[in-house]
């Protein structure tokens, strides 16, 4: 087993599994589940093994499109630190979530469809991770979108799910539009698509015209905005919660949405060459992380709260990319976030199963005793998310905040504030769900979930708490702390964490219903409504006008009018044919005279 072959096995086993499930899956549930989990497990094992190996000297690569010297698009893998870490994260969490799904989807229909989708997703995600050139990444980028579409739309009979999946795909396409243009811009200038060549010297071309590079980078960043649900393209992520909870946890929390950040990390040297582009990235990230946190504070759906927190955390990562000198800072947070956010979602899933698919936190309450194990796991995740000191989130997030404060003071302090909000809404969720009194029949008779779901919780709870400790961090990342951080920063963060938790406790300790109502936040800052309005009135309205025009103007001018004129002409001419000899003789004579004049008088 050479290190240059292993990636290919890791990459294509899931695809094989997906195809296999497509054919045999419908005949046996265990078989389809087994195929999917098997492929994930193989990938996981190989990734860890690969992680322990040194980087291979050269990596295999196959020509996919090759047109003379004009264009070469190979399919090849890059094995470096970045991709290896990402491999580990993706495959590990995937394995856990796949396993968890057995329990969660037991009762659901479309079992094989679900696992086929998961396997396909794993394939595409790994493709992104391993891609060694823009086009390959773009290909798998789109495939990830597809698998997300399939999985979100799992409950396709539900209109909401169907719409959500459609929206997710289309919004991602909008992002990809920019991404593709960015790729074209870079390629048109440098003539190459390989990350390697671009990052090492390929961008020297732009010395003459940094503005062009900036535009290109911003366009590429659009891909991230779409995939990582940054504002203003974040709307699809909360809606994607219509999918099964494991999907939300794997795709829409841990891995897929992080692909955008991973891509930024992959092209970090290029970005670094275009400071203005980095500023754009920073602003988008900062605003996203704050705005999403605001929205999260007023949601009632357990999964939506987590979704907004995801958006907010992704905002942190993007901000980190823009402000830290090395992408490892963001990758570090991506790493920890993957664990605790996945954990949180799985907990939420277990709660939802316990509650017979009731997701409104105000219909829960007092689940602490009914599902204690879930409760503990949830708390662990919540602590990590809200950056409780000495949990994983604490290390990674504070690092980003520190850099942000140093590089972009305003955004930095905004993200500091966000930290407080995070603590608040996270524990709002915990308290509302697990404390207080049961506020619903389901809540009264909720029961703990089966082991197959709890084991993954356990497996995730541990890293969620400890994955951030420096000794672990050193294994995976080489991060650097900024010098002269404002000494107020860390105290402020502690204060904000405890403040947030305390505020949550006072408000939601045992509240029967939400004591505060801030419609502006509850309605997601009205951004979704704005989009709905635009789609409904601008896009569809305009389209309707155009199609009307097509029927009644273009068609009229190009087809109807000419044909009608010809027909009418014929109809009129017929009336010269009135059947009267004398009239004919007259026309005849007129013709004669006309002809004579033509010949003689001209």
């Amino acid at each position: 087993m050479s290190t240059s072959v292993a990636p290919w096995i890791i990459l294509f086993t899931p695809l094989a599994a997906a195809v296999g499930i497509l054919f045999v899956g419908r005949y046996s549930k265990p078989l389809s589940a087994g195929l999917a989990i098997g492929s994930a497990a193989i990938g996981c094992a190989l990734s860890w093994w690969l992680f322990c190996q040194p980087d291979p000297a050269e990596s295999l690569s196959f020509p996919w499109i090759q047109i003379g010297t004009d264009l070469q698009i190979p399919i090849g893998v890059t094995i470096d630190h970045l991709s290896k870490v990402m491999l580990v994260v993706v495959t590990t969490i995937a394995t856990l979530v796949f396993t968890y799904s057995i329990g969660y989807m037991k009762a659901e229909e479309g079992y094989w469809r679900y696992f086929a989708g998961l396997a396909l997703f794993l394939f595409s995600m790994l493709g992104i991770v391993l891609a060694d050139n823009f086009m390959m990444m773009f290909i798998f980028w789109e495939l990830v979108g597809l698998s997300s579409y399939i999985l979100i739309g799992h409950y396709f009979k539900r209109d909401s799910a169907a719409d959500a999946s459609k929206q997710a795909f289309i919004v991602n396409r909008v992002g990809d539009f920019g991404f593709l243009l960015g790729i074209l811009f870079l390629w048109a200038a440098t003539g190459t698509l390989m990350f390697g060549e671009l990052t090492t010297g390929g961008i020297a071309v732009f010395a003459a015209n940094p503005f062009y590079l900036t535009v290109a980078c911003v366009l590429v960043f659009c891909g991230t905005v779409g995939k990582s649900a940054q504002m203003p393209l974040h709307v699809w992520l909360p809606n994607s919660m219509e999918g099964p909870t494991p999907v939300s946890s794997l795709l829409h929390a841990a891995t897929m949405v992080a692909a955008g950040v991973y891509m930024l990390a992959r092209i970090f040297p290029i970005l670094a060459a275009a400071p203005p582009a980095l500023d754009v990235v920073a602003w988008v990230g900062g605003i996203t992380c704050f705005g999403a946190a605001l929205m999260a504070t007023q949601q009632d759906d357990i999964k939506r709260i987590l979704a907004y927190s995801t958006i907010s955390q992704l905002g942190y990562m993007v901000l980190g990319i823009a402000s830290a000198p090395t992408p490892d800072v963001s990758m570090f947070h991506l790493f920890t976030h993957a664990f605790f956010k996945c954990l949180l979602f799985l907990c939420a899933g277990s709660v939802i199963v316990g509650m017979h698919h009731e997701q409104n936190i105000w219909k829960m309450g007092a689940l602490k005793n009914k599902m204690p194990f879930t409760f503990l796991a949830m708390v662990a995740g919540a602590l990590a998310l809200s950056g409780c000191p000495f949990t994983s989130g604490y290390f990674s997030k504070d690092l980003i905040i520190a850099w942000a404060v140093v590089r972009h003071p305003f955004l930095g302090w905004l993200s500091v504030a966000t930290a407080g909000l995070t603590a608040f809404y996270t524990f709002r969720l915990v308290f509302a769900v697990f404390l207080g009194k049961p506020r619903d029949e389901h809540a009264k008779h909720a029961t703990e979930s089966p082991a197959v779901m709890l084991v993954p919780l356990a497996c995730l709870a541990l890293p969620a708490l400890v994955a951030g400790f420096p000794f672990i961090e050193k294994i995976f990342f080489h991060v650097a702390d900024p010098e002269e951080v404002p000494f107020l920063l860390h105290p402020a963060l502690y204060a904000l964490f405890f403040g947030g938790v305390a505020l949550a406790w006072t408000l939601y300790g045992n509240a029967a219903k939400d004591p505060v109502r801030i419609p502006f936040f509850a309605n997601r800052l009205y951004i979704d409504d704005l989009y709905d309005w635009m789609v409904k009135h601008i896009q569809d309205g305009g389209a309707a006008v155009l199609s009307w025009a097509d029927r009644w103007i273009v068609d009229l001018l190009v087809v109807q009018v000419p044909s009608k004129i010809a027909w009418a002409g014929g109809f009129v001419l017929r009336f010269l044919q009135i059947g009267n000899i004398q009239a004919y003789a007259f026309f005849f004579g007129a013709g004669v005279v006309g002809l004579l004049y033509l010949l003689i008088f001209r």
Binding site: R574, F575, Q577, I578, G579, N580, I581, Q582, A585, G589
Partner: protein
């Protein structure tokens, strides 16, 4: 002495009169007479030309006169056939009036 122009103008006038007969009268017989007038007008100018442009032998172009002869013959034949048709028409429709012949139109 009458000149070529005299004859040509007379024949032209006759031709026009014949044309007028065709264009203005609505009785097929009269129209037919008008047609005969036109043919004869042509004859007149033919003969005039032949007389005014004698050949190298200093004689009138007798080819033209032969043509006139043919024209007269043809005209006679035409009259015969035409009148036969008109008679048949009259038998069928009791009319020789052009305005009654408009079943075929448009």
């Amino acid at each position: 002495m009458p000149t070529l122009a005299h004859y040509l103008l007379v024949s032209g006038g006759l031709f026009s009169i014949g044309l007028a007969g065709v264009l203005l009268r609505r009785n097929i017989l009269i129209i037919f007479m008008g047609l005969e007038l036109m043919l004869n007008a042509a004859n007149l100018s033919l003969v005039a030309f032949s007389r005014f442009h004698p050949g190298h032998d200093g004689l009138p172009g007798y080819n033209a006169q032969v043509l006139v002869f043919f024209i007269i013959t043809v005209a006679a034949a035409e009259v015969a056939v035409g009148l036969a048709i008109i008679v048949a028409l009259f038998r069928a429709k009791q009319t020789t009036h052009v305005e009654d012949l408009d079943t075929l139109k448009f």
